[in-house]
Symmetry: C2
């Protein structure tokens, strides 16, 4: 049966909660007195719809129903979970809980998105304090898995367990914090960086952009996958966490920050950290951790390359500086032979669990080869902007041999036909002397306006005719024209 | 002409520098008195060789030559760049510089990997202080782009400019810090988090693992792409950075950290931060920034899914909980029809610049469909572990219509032949009633030991025979058996 959640407060955080629950198949009742609430909610939901379902590799349940409610009594009706995201004022929150508890089911869970208040403060003055916990999420709530779950002795174990189940069922990671503390965990770390960053800006050492770059081109990439301690465990090298503390711990007493109250690194604290680190990561050796880290970093960095953002933009600029492949057929030394269109190493994120290049990545490399050839015949970004392009209509790949991450591969491309609307290409992928695969592709020139087949403009048809003529004398490559399981006649 | 770099100190950092320069085509001369230096260097280089070249989408220059040197005079000979990564003792570093400067070219650049010393401290006592700068990298040096470049008034603008060029040419991002300060920028931020984390561990609030989870499932994913200020700019919503400071700034005076010396948030400091943030991100609206952020997050999260690590592991567990596709042909309701093998939304990272699903991702979806079918006939992880599997030999794709991010797609699979070593499949990809593409695939059963064709074992051949028999009566699908540009006869 479809479950119902009540969302109180529909801003960035409340709207994010609503979107996550909706897309995970819950019915959502939303209360927000802001006259702009419906518009804001629909914007957050639009963002969530384009990003969350595809984050999954399987189909999510049908989207739930969203209902805007005019009162707290209406919003709480029938809800098994009530998420409060009203402004950070304790008196306001307490008043909201009193009204909620007049109307909600006694076994509903009331979660607060508060970053600033402890659960004991929220429970004070409540009719049924045992119903209230902190469930502190991170923006964007519909994408980031972390939610800090904090209760007090007044919450039963059964309620905490149930809260974890609900949060897990909507794809989140409930981090159950056993002792309450101001700002929970993550915001204390954020607060420390925020304070130090304010000093750096105030003292004129760095701008906001320089601070962001120092994060996202460096340790931010490590933290997205491992966090602080596991990263330092690797930095400690073969001797691990204890070595790291002994080597770098003394810096604690150096004036490396303006934030100066510092715990003493006693033997006891060292043992505690090293022991916890063993429990966390001791099942992997430092070498294994390094490989995991590098796989993750390559994956993240290459993902950012595809988005041309952050560290990925830096890598794209570097590629542009070092590329040796001609961007025009006029720069190809010998146009009478199949021409070099891809020359690269097989990246880690193109391989599957056993280290071989995944079958889809063969087509990615052939697609890159096709893109390069299009560039060489003048079908470049400007031309595409002007409204013409080629779409792939058909592909035939023969997988002839395996290849591993790190291997250098080259694709050479023969033009079988380049006439009118048609472009018929044959790619050969080699690693050294080994033929790994062939890719045969039929592309059709289209008008991007009508999405229908059209003749290419002369700045493309000209160079293409030159290429087709130069390749006309080449023998038809082995494997061209064949169907799956059938040799060409 | 190949350039030469001298690397002094071959530990984790020095070895990382050496590996990056080598793979970017530089000859490397390495000096490290550690008797284990050659082994350590070869291990770092091994890690770098498997990850760095494929990070690029183009071919890197041929790898340079690595030479281990016995003395500083030998290592400095002919080097245009000298990178010092010896232990963090000022007296030692100063002594090393004196020896270097007796032997190196006067126009060589001497970069120090120090995190703890300011360039003025390093330049003190040097013969030619103008040659020395701080170039502080981040581990792993061969993957992370950030390097903090810090000089003093003694360094000429020309030298700083040249240093930037060299660092950029090896794929790094030189962040030029204009005013020297203890620990530069990034390590001050790290130090703040490290101190706060030590308190959390010491006070028993959280373990090292819980702190790491609080980072990597939450703000670490944001920081990998945007850093602190740009993230907060988004959190401020339509009103931007100034609103964020006015809303959250007051928390600065709350006891959210044990690190207590805090700058006063004057109007002047607020203006400074808001102005810098405008300069950094003002060319994009908050809505645009949100979309960029979400694209990046989906890309990072889906990358981590493929690695089954961190936040990606959480997402995989969620997929396993919600999947509705049968894992065995015995659970398929109607085996006489093509069977459902993929049902998912098109993720953001499967689309190209114009929002359409990229051609290679059609094959990824068909590959996923094939994997699902293999699972259904008993060719699962245990079977593969036992030494048998299917390899794709041939693929024929017809691209019939376009599809956008977020659209729900389904693949249904017909078994054309499942006999002996051969498995001949035909996939149809639909979005609603629209046929998007067909994929015809010939797979061959192989022994993973010999990598040669072999008969499947009975736990696979049995279910496959059942499936092939159930599909034998189905009509041959339109498009099967055709070659590129040629209709099937």
């Amino acid at each position: 049966m479809t479950q119902t959640v009540a969302i109180i407060g529909g801003g960035v955080i409340g709207g994010g909660w609503a979107a996550r629950f909706l897309l995970m198949g819950w019915d959502v009742q939303l209360f927000d007195p802001d006259p702009e609430a419906e518009r804001k909610m629909s914007e957050v939901l639009g963002n969530a719809r384009r990003s969350l379902p595809g984050l999954s590799d399987v189909s999510l349940p049908p989207e739930g129903r969203l209902r805007h409610c005019a009162t707290i009594s209406e919003v709480a009706d029938g809800a098994v979970w009530i998420q409060e995201s009203v402004p950070e004022r304790l008196d306001l929150k307490r008043k909201v809980y009193q009204t909620i508890q007049e109307h909600c089911a006694e076994d509903a869970i009331i979660g607060s998105s508060t970053s600033g208040f402890k659960p004991s403060e929220l429970q004070d003055c409540a009719t049924r304090p045992e119903q209230i916990v902190v469930t502190h999420p991170f923006n964007p709530v519909y994408l980031l898995p972390l939610v800090e779950l904090v209760g007090t002795a007044k919450n039963s174990d059964a309620l905490i367990h149930r809260a974890k189940d609900v949060l897990t069922s909507v794809g989140m990671y409930p981090l159950h914090i056993k002792a309450e503390i101001d700002a929970h965990i993550a915001d204390r770390l954020l607060e420390a960086v925020w304070r130090e960053s304010l000093w750096l800006v105030k003292d004129g050492i760095a701008t906001t952009e320089e601070i962001d770059d120092a994060i996202r081109y460096g340790f931010g990439l490590r933290w997205a996958q491992m966090g602080l301690f596991e990263t330092y465990r690797i930095a400690g090298g073969e001797a691990g966490m204890r070595h790291f503390i002994s080597q770098f711990g003394p810096a604690l007493s150096w004036p490396w920050t303006k934030l100066m109250d510092v715990p003493e690194l006693t033997e006891e604290l060292t043992n505690q950290i090293a022991g916890q680190s063993d429990a966390q990561s001791g099942h992997l050796s430092i070498r294994e951790l390094e490989r995991v880290r590098d796989n993750n970093l390559v994956t993240i960095l290459r993902g950012l390359k595809a988005q041309d953002w952050g560290a990925g933009r830096i890598l794209n600029a570097q590629d542009a500086r070092v590329t040796k492949i001609a961007n025009s057929i006029d720069d190809v030394a010998d146009l009478s032979q199949p021409i070099l269109t891809v020359k690269r190493a097989v990246p880690l994120d193109w391989t599957d669990y056993n280290g071989h290049m995944n079958e889809a990545r063969y087509l990615q490399a052939f697609g890159d080869a096709t893109d390069q050839l299009m560039l060489m015949i003048g079908c470049d970004a400007d031309y595409i902007q002007s409204g013409g392009s080629y779409f792939t209509a058909e592909t035939h790949i023969r997988h002839l041999d395996e290849v591993h991450a790190g291997a250098e591969i080259e694709v050479r491309t023969q033009c079988l036909l380049g006439e009118g609307k048609k472009l018929h290409l044959f790619h050969q992928m080699m690693s050294g002397d080994t033929l790994l695969a062939t890719g045969e592709h039929m592309l059709i020139h289209v008008s991007l306006e009508t999405r229908k087949a059209s003749e290419p403009a002369v700045q493309v048809s000209g160079p293409l005719a030159k290429l087709a003529k130069a390749h006309a004398a080449l023998p038809r490559p082995e494997g061209a024209g064949s169907a799956v399981g059938v040799r060409a006649g």
